[in-house]
């Protein structure tokens, strides 16, 4: 049951929010409670996983290739944990920020549904199930995009929906091709089935479809256009949630699929990822340099940072993956924080267009400090968390003697610093063009609480990187050598076949309750036999 909670809790909260449709205040409380519950569940999962190694569970006691598998290794558990943290931060920020109209249109229910989808995608061990969770989070994000109902939101939503649906269809087709080639969609099973078959045309075409699909979800070059077109239009809470989680689900899926299912050391796959990620970094950062809207600048930076993460995967050494995983974790905290701060900047100055605002340093020096922490962390200035993330990736590139890529990574770091200093100069340093207290709305203290917490986190990870890097090393080892992952699925599947409750590796083999006698043909655990083995 443990692995079910990160999915079941947000979805249950979403249901309660729907039932409490007419009371935004109840929904607000439910949203906060659900997010806190998610955080608690995720802490329980990660302690368990760090203690015992990967944990798996079969839904409804159906054994592995037939039933849905949920698996958590360190990577999944860490992603669920960070989802919980961001959920709580956004719920608190949302108290003071989300408008009444958005609340009436279902902001809270949609947020929880989004969290359920995100966590589902993180813990599932089955590619088709991952597709389903992607759709859940996609539909919820569509809804969140338009709950505000303004013209800009609708315009952005059309682009977001249109381009994401293409990625969805590519995902679906890739899943179909993979099923045709392998006859299974369970990731652990796929790893065993495809061993020695990497490089076949059918598998390559499935890999290409899935790479496009995950790349588009992660906003990788050349399929990133939906992101800067849409992330600056919804409420700040929503765009912080999106910026933290949505693209990272794509990166997570990419890391998962291109280690356990496909073999990234195939030159075609590796080179595509390598140069794709390098171009993504450069294009993102150059795009940001041309923007003058705070949240649009930050949106373009998501793209360039996604490049670093994919680069870590593309280098395909243990150190590269350590970098990618550490980067993933660091970036979610920092990027969500920057979006939240952008909201406060917009609130205190009346606009998010850098040309129209200024003078914040004089009025709110503390906000300046709070902005500088994640901004410098994003650019990779020591001793903040971003420094270690970039260092690991660049070291991995140097280790593989990919000097040009390493050079690009360093260069993009400097350009990021340029963009951040642009926001700093325009919003904080220069005088406000409309006089000193023009068009400012007061910013409630609730807005600062999550900002300060997330800023402290990036400082803490930066100063105390050792345990985090060690966890990332352990996680990269699990991802690259998925034996423990597969063993966990096999244990869960065996337990399901015997009709046992699977809880922990220690408890497997101990009958928890007597299995009920099969009363219905449906209960037959092997399911209908396949007419022919699709492998032949």
């Amino acid at each position: 049951m443990l692995l079910v909670w990160p999915i079941a809790l947000p979805l249950s909260t979403a249901v309660l929010c729907l039932i409490a449709w007419h009371s935004p205040r109840v929904q607000r409380a439910l949203n906060a409670a659900g997010s806190l519950g998610l955080l608690v569940a995720s802490i329980a999962i990660i302690t368990r996983v760090l203690d015992e190694g990967p944990v798996a569970a079969q839904m409804g006691s159906w054994p592995a290739p037939f039933g849905i598998t949920l698996v958590a290794d360190i990577l999944s558990a860490a992603m669920v944990l960070i989802t919980g943290i961001i959920a709580v931060a956004c719920a608190v920020y949302g108290w003071a920020e989300v408008g009444a109209g958005e609340e009436r249109n279902g902001h809270h229910a949609l947020t929880q549904a989004l969290l359920g989808g995100v966590c589902g995608a993180f813990v599932t061990g089955d590619i088709f199930n991952m597709y389903v969770w992607f759709e859940v989070l996609l539909i919820a994000s569509f809804g969140l995009m338009v709950v505000g109902g303004g013209k800009a939101q609708l315009d952005a939503a059309v682009k977001y929906v249109g381009l994401n649906l293409i990625a969805t269809l590519a995902f679906l087709t890739g899943v179909g091709l993979l099923y045709g080639a392998a006859g299974t969609l369970n990731m652990a099973d796929l790893h065993l089935t495809l061993a020695g078959r990497q490089g076949e045309t059918a598998i390559f075409s499935a890999a290409a479809m899935l790479m496009f699909a995950f790349g588009a979800k992660a906003a990788m070059f050349p399929a990133f256009f939906w992101l800067p077109a849409s992330y600056h239009t919804p409420s700040v809470t929503t765009s912080a949630l999106f910026s933290a989680l949505l693209t990272k689900v794509g990166v997570y899926a990419m890391i998962r699929a291109f280690t356990i299912v496909f073999d990234t050391s195939e030159p075609a796959i590796q080179n595509t990822l390598l140069y794709g990620s390098a171009i993504t970094m450069v294009v993102g950062v150059l795009g940001a340099a041309a923007q003058m809207h705070v949240r649009r600048i930050l949106s373009f930076h998501i793209i360039s940072q996604i490049g670093y993460m994919i680069l870590g995967l593309a280098i395909y050494t243990p150190l590269g993956l350590v970098g990618a995983i550490f980067y993933l974790f660091h970036h979610i905290i920092v990027k969500a924080n920057l979006f939240l701060i952008a909201g406060v900047i917009g609130r205190s100055t009346g606009s998010e267009e850098l040309t129209d605002i200024g003078g914040l340093w004089k009025r709110k020096p503390w906000l300046g400090v709070l902005f500088l922490i994640p901004a410098l962390s994003l650019a990779g200035v020591p001793p903040l968390s971003g420094f270690w993330a970039k260092l690991l990736i660049i070291l991995a590139a140097l280790e593989e003697e990919r000097y040009f890529i390493a050079f690009v990574a360093v260069l993009v770091g400097f350009l990021t610093l340029y963009s951040m200093s642009k926001i700093w100069m325009e919003a904080f340093w220069k005088a406000h063009p409309g006089g000193d207290d023009a068009a400012a709305r007061p910013a409630s203290y609730w807005l600062y609480l999550p900002i300060i917490t997330l800023a402290l986190m990036t400082v803490f990870i930066g100063l105390n990187a050792q345990p985090f890097v060690e966890a990332a090393f352990a996680s990269a080892e699990q991802v690259l050598q998925p034996d423990a992952y597969i063993a966990a699925v096999a244990r869960a599947s065996e337990a399901a076949e015997l009709g046992l409750t699977f809880e922990s590796p220690a408890a497997s083999g101990v009958p928890a309750e007597a299995a009920p006698t099969p009363v219905e043909p449906i209960e037959n655990p092997t399911g209908p036999p396949e007419p022919e083995d699709p492998l032949r």
Binding site: V132, E135, F142, L154, D155, A157, V175, A229, N524, P529
Partner: protein, 131 residues
């Protein structure tokens, strides 16, 4: 006519159909109007569903239903998994498309156009654009 690798003629026909649907869908999506874009999406999603169906292998077989009082089917049955996958995909596609349709409708109502080139509400004020 025996085809290499146990391929049946029907699979080739379906492969061509998938290609045709995807190609015409892509053509419609590039027309620059939202309604055509949606129709193109529907075509491509049908292409994806047929591809999954064909990926499950085409056989002459009974529906995979277990008769009363038995635990396994008596005759050779069709592969139920691709059917389940397609059904899920159709349901999800139905939800996504109905949302997209409602969205396009609202957008037309708010912005007064379904031409993508004219939709620049969320873009920066002074950059690019045809108008």
């Amino acid at each position: 006519m025996p085809l290499p690798g146990g391929t049946t003629e029907m699979e080739i026909v379906l492969a061509i159909l998938v290609g045709l649907l995807a190609a015409s869908g892509a053509y419609m999506m590039m027309a620059g109007r939202l309604i055509a874009y949606l129709f193109g999406l529907i075509m491509i999603s049908n292409a994806a569903n047929i591809a999954i169906f064909a990926a499950g292998r085409l056989t002459y077989a009974e529906p995979p239903l277990v008769p009363d009082g038995e635990y396994t089917p008596m005759t050779e049955v069709a592969n139920a998994l691709p059917q389940a996958l397609i059904l899920t995909a159709i349901v999800i596609g139905f939800g996504l498309l109905s949302f997209a349709l409602a969205l396009v409708f609202r957008t037309y109502f708010e912005l007064g156009t379904t031409r993508m080139d004219d939709m620049r509400e969320a873009e920066p004020r002074n950059m690019g654009g045809n108008s």
